[in-house]
C-alpha cells in the first residue's frame, strides 16, 4: 500500500490517481477519485481492480495494462474510444469523459492510472461539432438556394417576355434582357420607370392603379420604344406585397405581340383576297366563255362581210371591244390567279433594267426616275409580261401620286434578300418564308397613303381616282401571289409611299431556255373538238373549218372517248375542254392516249391554269391553253403540234 500521508500531494491533484500491483490489487486511490466515484479509499485499497470494475477484465484493457508491467511504453485510453475507464458520475448523473494513461512505476513495481476529466473539453467539442454541422447544413442550404435562384434568374433573364420589377417610387429594380430588346434601352436598373418609358402615359397610369388598388391588371398596350416608335404588347402587372400586405413592388410581364397581330391581319387579308378571287374567278370564267363565242362569231362574220366595208368595220370594232373586254377579264383573272400563265426562267436584273428604260420613256419629264439595281443574277421563274404589267401599274400609281410635287421622284430598286441569313426581314415581314428573294421596290415622294386606304388598296374595284378601274393594284397583288411572292406597302400621308415586292428566286437551270420550235401553218388537220359549252363549241368548230381543218365535235369527255375509240386513227389532234360533266378532259385524254400514245392534245380552260397545270404537265405532247384564244394563235399551235408530235415530247 502507498501511504497517502507519505505523498500528500497526490490528494491535491486534479487528476484521479490509482495504482495496482502485478496481481491487480489496488494500492493507491486518491481523494479526487473518492470524490468522483463516491467510493472511499478505505473501501478501495486492497480491492481487486478487475472485481471492482469487471469491464476492465476485457482483453482490450487487461492485456494493455499488463504489458506496462513488462516494461512496455505507457498505455493510453482515449475518451473517444473508451469514454471512461473508471466510471465517474457527475452531479447530473452523466459519466465523466476521461482520458486515462497507464504507466509503469519502476521504483514500486506498480502500474499507475492517471485519469483526467475531459468532460468540459469534449462537451465543447461536441458543441463545436454540432455548430459546425449546422453551419455546414446551413451553408449547403444556402448554396442550393443560391443555385436555385441563379437558375431562376437565368430563366427569367432568358425569357422571351419582358419582365421588370418596379418599386413603388417607380425605380426599376430589375429588368430582363427581353425588356432591353423590346424597348431599346440598354440598362434601366436604378432608373425610374417614368424616365425609362417616357410617353407611355396610359401604361404608367395603370401601374399607379396597381400600386394603389393592389389589383392585378392585364391587357393590350401600345408601348413606346426609346427611339419613339410604338409596338403593341400584351401586358400584365401584378402587385407584390410585403409582410404587412403593403404593395411595395409591381412585377410587369410584357410580350411584344405586334408580329402576331401583323400575321393575324395578313391571314385575314389573305382570306378576304382568296374569297374575292374565287368570286371573281367564277365570273371571269363565264365571261371568257361568252367572249370566246363572241370572238369566234366576229371572226367568222368578218370573213363573210368582206365585201360590205361598213359592216366589216363594225365587226372589226366589235372584235376590238371584245379584245378590250378580254383584257379586263385577263386582269381580273390575274388578280384571281387564274390568268394565262407563260412562265419561264428569266434573270430579273436585265428584265428590271429594261423595265426602268421603258418606265423612263412613259413618265412625264417633270418626274425624275432613279433606278437602283444591285448587281446579281436574280434567277427567277415567272411570267415576264404579267410582271411587267404589274410593275407598270405601280409606276403609274406612283406617277399619279407625285406628279404635283415640285421635286417629284420615283425610285425603282432591286436587291437580293436572304431570309435564311438574317432575322431582320422575318421580323419586319413575319409572313415572309425562309429563302432567297428578289426585293423589288418602287418608291415615290408623293401624297402618301393613309392607313385606312392601305387596308383596301389591293381590293379589286377599290379606287381613289375618278377614272380608275380599281383593278391596277388588285392585278399587282394577284400577280405577286401567283408568283408566290409578297407585297407590302409602307406609307403615311404626305410622306410618299414605298411598295415592296418579294419574289422567290430559284437556282439557275442549265437548260433554262428551250429553243423555240418553228411552226408552219397547215390545213386539213383532222380535229376532235370537245367542249360542253355550245357557245364555245360551235364558233370554234366553224372557225377551224373555215381555216380548212376537218372537225368532229363532242359535248363531253365521255362522248369524245366513245367517238375516238371507234377509230382512233381518224384524228390528228384533240382539242378538249378541261372541266366537263360525266368525264373531264384529262380523264378522256388519258383513255385516248391508251389507244394512241402519239395523239397531240390541247387542253383548253377558262379556269385557273395553276389548278390544272400540274395534271396536264404529266401528259406528254400536250399544251394547256387559256380561253378565250385568238383564232390565229390556235391555228399556229395546231400546226406546230401536229408537225412535231412525238410520243416522248413533254407538254408545257
Amino acid at each position: 500500500m502507498i501511504d497517502p500521508a507519505a505523498f500528500p500531494l497526490l490528494d491535491h491533484m486534479t487528476s484521479g490517481l490509482l495504482a495496482i500491483d502485478r496481481s491487480g490489487c489496488i494500492v493507491l486511490w486518491n481523494r479526487q477519485l473518492e470524490q468522483w466515484t463516491g467510493r472511499s479509499r478505505r473501501d478501495m485499497l486492497g480491492e481487486d481492480l478487475y472485481r471492482a470494475y469487471p469491464e476492465l477484465a476485457a482483453d482490450e484493457f487487461r492485456l494493455r495494462i499488463h504489458r506496462v508491467f513488462d516494461g512496455s511504453a505507457p498505455a493510453i485510453f482515449s475518451p473517444s474510444l473508451h469514454h471512461h475507464v473508471i466510471p465517474c458520475p457527475t452531479d447530473n448523473g452523466e459519466l465523466r469523459t476521461q482520458k486515462t494513461t497507464v504507466s509503469y512505476l519502476h521504483a514500486h513495481d506498480l502500474a499507475l492510472f492517471c485519469i483526467d476529466d475531459h468532460s468540459e473539453q469534449y462537451r465543447l467539442i461536441d458543441k463545436h461539432r454540432q455548430a459546425a454541422s449546422e453551419l455546414e447544413k446551413e451553408l449547403e442550404q444556402r448554396r442550393q438556394l443560391e443555385s436555385r435562384n441563379a437558375h431562376l434568374l437565368a430563366a427569367i433573364d432568358q425569357a422571351g417576355e419582358a419582365i421588370i420589377i418596379i418599386r413603388r417610387d417607380g425605380d426599376i429594380e430589375y429588368a430582363n434582357r427581353a425588356f432591353y430588346h423590346q424597348t431599346g434601352w440598354h440598362d434601366t436598373r436604378q432608373q425610374n420607370i417614368h424616365v425609362a418609358l417616357p410617353g407611355n402615359n396610359k401604361f404608367l397610369d395603370r401601374l399607379t392603379s396597381v400600386f394603389e388598388d393592389g389589383a392585378f391588371w392585364q391587357g393590350r398596350q401600345q408601348v413606346r420604344r426609346r427611339d419613339g416608335s410604338l409596338f403593341t404588347a400584351s401586358v400584365s402587372i401584378a402587385p407584390i406585397s410585403d409582410a404587412d400586405e403593403r404593395v411595395t413592388h409591381a412585377i410587369m410581364i410584357q410580350e411584344d405581340i405586334s408580329q402576331a397581330l401583323e400575321l393575324e391581319r395578313k391571314i385575314r387579308d389573305t382570306q378576304k383576297q382568296e374569297a374575292l378571287a374565287t368570286l371573281i374567278g367564277g365570273i371571269a370564267h363565264d365571261f371568257n366563255n361568252i367572249l370566246a363565242g363572241i370572238t369566234g362569231q366576229a371572226y367568222l362574220a368578218s370573213r363573210e362581210v368582206s365585201d360590205l366595208p361598213k359592216t366589216a368595220d363594225r365587226v372589226r370594232k366589235l372584235q376590238k371591244l371584245a379584245q378590250e373586254a378580254s383584257e379586263i377579264v385577263g386582269q381580273l383573272l390575274t388578280f384571281a390567279r387564274q390568268g394565262q400563265v407563260n412562265s419561264k426562267d428569266m434573270p430579273l436584273a436585265p428584265f428590271m433594267k429594261e423595265f426602268c428604260k421603258l418606265a423612263t420613256r412613259n413618265i412625264p419629264e417633270s418626274i425624275r426616275l432613279d433606278s437602283n439595281i444591285r448587281p446579281g443574277n436574280y434567277p427567277f421563274h415567272g411570267d415576264a409580261n404579267q410582271l411587267q404589267q404589274a410593275l407598270y401599274n405601280m409606276v403609274q400609281n406612283a406617277v399619279e401620286s407625285c406628279d404635283r410635287h415640285p421635286d417629284a421622284r420615283i425610285e425603282i430598286g432591286l436587291a437580293e434578300v436572304d431570309t435564311e441569313g438574317s432575322e431582320h426581314w422575318l421580323t419586319r415581314y413575319p409572313v415572309l418564308r425562309r429563302g432567297r428573294f428578289a426585293h423589288i421596290y418602287i418608291r415615290d415622294n408623293g401624297a402618301g397613303i393613309s392607313e385606312a386606304e392601305q387596308e383596301r388598296i389591293f381590293d379589286p374595284f377599290y379606287t381613289t381616282k375618278q377614272l380608275g378601274s380599281g383593278l391596277g393594284l388588285a392585278m399587282v397583288a394577284g400577280c405577286v401571289r401567283h408568283h408566290h411572292g409578297l407585297i407590302e406597302v409602307e406609307s403615311s400621308p404626305g410622306n410618299g409611299a414605298t411598295f415592296h415586292i418579294f419574289l422567290p428566286l430559284r437556282n439557275p437551270r442549265k437548260d433554262s431556255e428551250r429553243s423555240s420550235v418553228s411552226t408552219n401553218q397547215m390545213a386539213g388537220v383532222r380535229i376532235l373538238l370537245v367542249d360542253d359549252d355550245p357557245r364555245v363549241l360551235e364558233p370554234t368548230r366553224e372557225l377551224l373549218e373555215t381555216i380548212g381543218h376537218h372537225v368532229t365535235t363532242a359535248e363531253n369527255g365521255k362522248q369524245a372517248w366513245q367517238t375516238f375509240r371507234q377509230c382512233s386513227d381518224d384524228w390528228d389532234i384533240v382539242i378538249t375542254d378541261m372541266v366537263m360533266p360525266e368525264m373531264n378532259g384529262l380523264e378522256s385524254a388519258r383513255l385516248m392516249r391508251s389507244l394512241r400514245p402519239d395523239i397531240p392534245l390541247i387542253f383548253a380552260t377558262a379556269y385557273d391554269q395553276s389548278l390544272v397545270l400540274e395534271d396536264t404537265r404529266k401528259v406528254p405532247n400536250s399544251v394547256l391553253l387559256s380561253k378565250p384564244f385568238h383564232p390565229d394563235d390556235l391555228d399556229q399551235l395546231i400546226a406546230r403540234m401536229t408537225a412535231e408530235a412525238t410520243p416522248a415530247q413533254t407538254g408545257s
Binding site: 516494461g71 511504453a73 493510453i76 474510444l81
Partner: protein, 195 residues
C-alpha cells in the same frame, strides 16, 4: 553499423510492424498491407523525399521518444486526410481534415498501440528495458517535419502501410540515435554469437 546489425534491427522492426498491423487489423477489421521495411542513414533534409507520397499534404504524426540502451523516436505518420478517415472509422464520425482534440486523442491512442508493438520487439531484441515518454501528437507540413530535426544525419527504419478498403495509408518510422547505438548493437552481436 555492421550489415549483421542492420539485418537484426530490420528483422525486429519488421516483426514490430507486423504486430502493429495486427493490432490495427483487430481494431479496424480490415486487411492491412505492409510495404517493405527499409533502413538506412539519411540526411535530415531527405526525409520529405523519403515520404514522397505525403509531401504535398499536411501530416498527422504520433511520436514517442524513448531512451535507455538507445535513444530515439518511434513515429506513426499519416497524411491528414488518411488520419481523418482512420478516426472517422473508429468513432463513426464523419471524417474531417481539421483533427480536433477528440480526433487527436483517438489517433494518439491508435499510435500508442502500434508504436508499443514496435518498441516491444525492439526492447526484446536489445534485451534491455527502455524508458518512454508519453506519445505526442502533432500536425505539421513536410517542411515542419524538417524543422523538427536537430541532427544532420539520422538512422531511419521505415515501412509503409495501407488500408486499401478505406483508402488510407501512412508510415511507421523508427529513428534510433546513431551516437547511442554502438553499445547495444555490440550486445546484439554478442547475443548472436551465443546463439
Amino acid at each position: 553499423m555492421r550489415d549483421s546489425q542492420t539485418d537484426r534491427l530490420i528483422r525486429c522492426f519488421r516483426s514490430g510492424i507486423e504486430q502493429a498491423a495486427s493490432s490495427l487489423n483487430r481494431v479496424l477489421r480490415q486487411q492491412i498491407c505492409i510495404g517493405i521495411a527499409e533502413i538506412g542513414a539519411f540526411r535530415h533534409h531527405e526525409l520529405p523525399v523519403l515520404l514522397d507520397e505525403s509531401r504535398r499534404e499536411r501530416l498527422a504524426i504520433v511520436c514517442m521518444p524513448f531512451s535507455g540502451a538507445i535513444d530515439g523516436h518511434v513515429c506513426l505518420l499519416m497524411p491528414a486526410r488518411s488520419a481523418a478517415i482512420l478516426v472517422g472509422c473508429l468513432t463513426d464520425e464523419s471524417p474531417a481534415d481539421g483533427m480536433d482534440a477528440s480526433a487527436r486523442d483517438t489517433l494518439t491512442e491508435i499510435g500508442n498501440i502500434m508504436l508499443n508493438d514496435i518498441m516491444t520487439c525492439i526492447a526484446g531484441m536489445l534485451d534491455s528495458a527502455l524508458d518512454y515518454d508519453m506519445p505526442e501528437f502533432t500536425i505539421t507540413s513536410p517542411a515542419g517535419l524538417l524543422r523538427r530535426g536537430h541532427a544532420d544525419t539520422l538512422l531511419l527504419a521505415r515501412a509503409r502501410f495501407s488500408v486499401d478498403a478505406l483508402q488510407l495509408d501512412g508510415y511507421l518510422l523508427l529513428c534510433p540515435g546513431i551516437d547511442s547505438f554502438d553499445r547495444p548493437m555490440h550486445d546484439v552481436g554478442m547475443e548472436q554469437k551465443k546463439a
